[in-house]
Amino acid sequence: MVTRVLVPSGVLGLGFDSQALARGIAKGPDIICIDGGSTDSGPFSLGTGTSKYSRAATKSEWRQLMQARAEAGIPLVIGSCGTCGTDSTVDWMLEITRELAEELGQDLKIATIYSSQPLERLTSALGAGEITALEPAPEISEASLKSCVNVVALAGAEQIGAALATGADIVLAGRTTDTATVSALPLMRGDHPGAVWHGAKIAECGALCSTNPISGVILVDFDDEGFTVEPMAEDARCTPHSVSAHMLYENSDPFILYEPGGHLDVTEARYTALDERRVRVSGSKWVSSNTYTVKLEGARIGGYQTTILAVLRDAHYVANAQAWVDKLKTFVSREISKSMGLGDGDFDLEFRLIGVNAALGSIETKTGTPTEVGVLGIITAGDQQTASEIGKLINPFVLHYPLTSDEELPTFAFPYSPAQSERGALYEFSLNHVLQLKAPMDGFTLTTQDITHAQGW
């Protein structure tokens, strides 16, 4: 049976071409699937349990998708709600959905899947040997699990499938794998599993697999032998190259993709141009595993930060920027010790030279003399107050410290007042592990609710 999946874009909040969406709806898809998250931007979203994207952008795009769903009469699914897919961001997405349902006058059955992992589940799984490290992984213990502020498990196609089986109009899922939302319905309908997972991976970033990535909208037809992918923007094309190259993107292995119940192997996949816009793919394999494991993501607080920024324009200091910060660091570390009684283990102070090697650090190979150098001081301490005290303490020295004792005190450019800024908590990723489950729903909670706003009698 052919299953037609419409993917409006790689992530909700990034925008899509509305005309391309309308063209996709006109083609009669069976389901609309979109991703809502990723770890791309770092651990802050998971640490705080908040969305990276603005509520306004999210709501505006979700409104269009809810309207498209109502018009087509098909399910709409979002995975990894609110970037990190914690319970709090699923609830945030639910609140937006409820507001829109009221504004649009829609009757809806909404299913939610919660992916946050309670500490007791994790510690008991650790004790039972059901948590396994991936490569490379930080060491974990009961204490390190306790130090995590948020842990989520990545749901797969099985949990999305369970939500769709409730007959929900809209599925709001917590953290899921990139491919889970797209693969669920075609798998339920018996399409070729290798083709389903491969097509889902190709479609998960929307039109990134086409010649016009920002147009967003992609349509994939799955069947019992392969899949066909077509971009919905008029000026976009999918070519065997654009489609096959997408397996490289953000994948450490371009041929193998691990999912909760097995893995996809595309080594033997064949890509054929059906015409100028559409590509047919077959030969992808799905290999089931004996165990069902879900990936875990966790964040913990690694300290609190205050930063300070100064700009050196004086050529003498620009030319000697590294020597200057080395000397400055030694001097202020002594001052911090003297005034605050803090030693090396109590805080970190790092100066990065913007214009010299701020992006690559010690592996930078290029040298030269820049016009100016930005000095970014990053202070990390056990609490915000200490980090900020250190920021204030070093402020006058960052402004005026001389390279040698026999020269006039310099004054550098501070771009704002105060020169130091509080960054709040520093979150760190704390897990690269998988959790073994006896049954897919064991680590997840599925709920449904009906809401009524349609006018009529």
């Binding site: 770890t39 096959s244 994948n251 371009p254 690694g302 992006a359 190979t365």
Partner: protein, 103 residues
Amino acid sequence: MPRVGDLVFKVRSKNAGPFWVTIDVFCGQQKAYETVSKALTTERVAELFRQPAKNIKRFDIKDLNVIKFSLPRPIVQGDRFDRDMHGAQWAVLLAEAEIELAA
């Protein structure tokens, strides 16, 4: 000696999850692919990123004229010492690396 970036269409890098970074060398043409896949050794890449060569996974993908290198991030994404949250600037170092071509 020519630089990798002068010989190929594009070099791109990105995190592959918080614990890995992956670098794709899009050679464009088959001839460039054949030249660069020979001249750019895994050891050279390891030296460039100051990592042991055994940590680097290499894929020579002839059908796409792509050479791909994946390695565990020496500093995990978002760690206090991380300088490049998306790992996207690593590509520049490889693009600017000079390589010796076979005579």
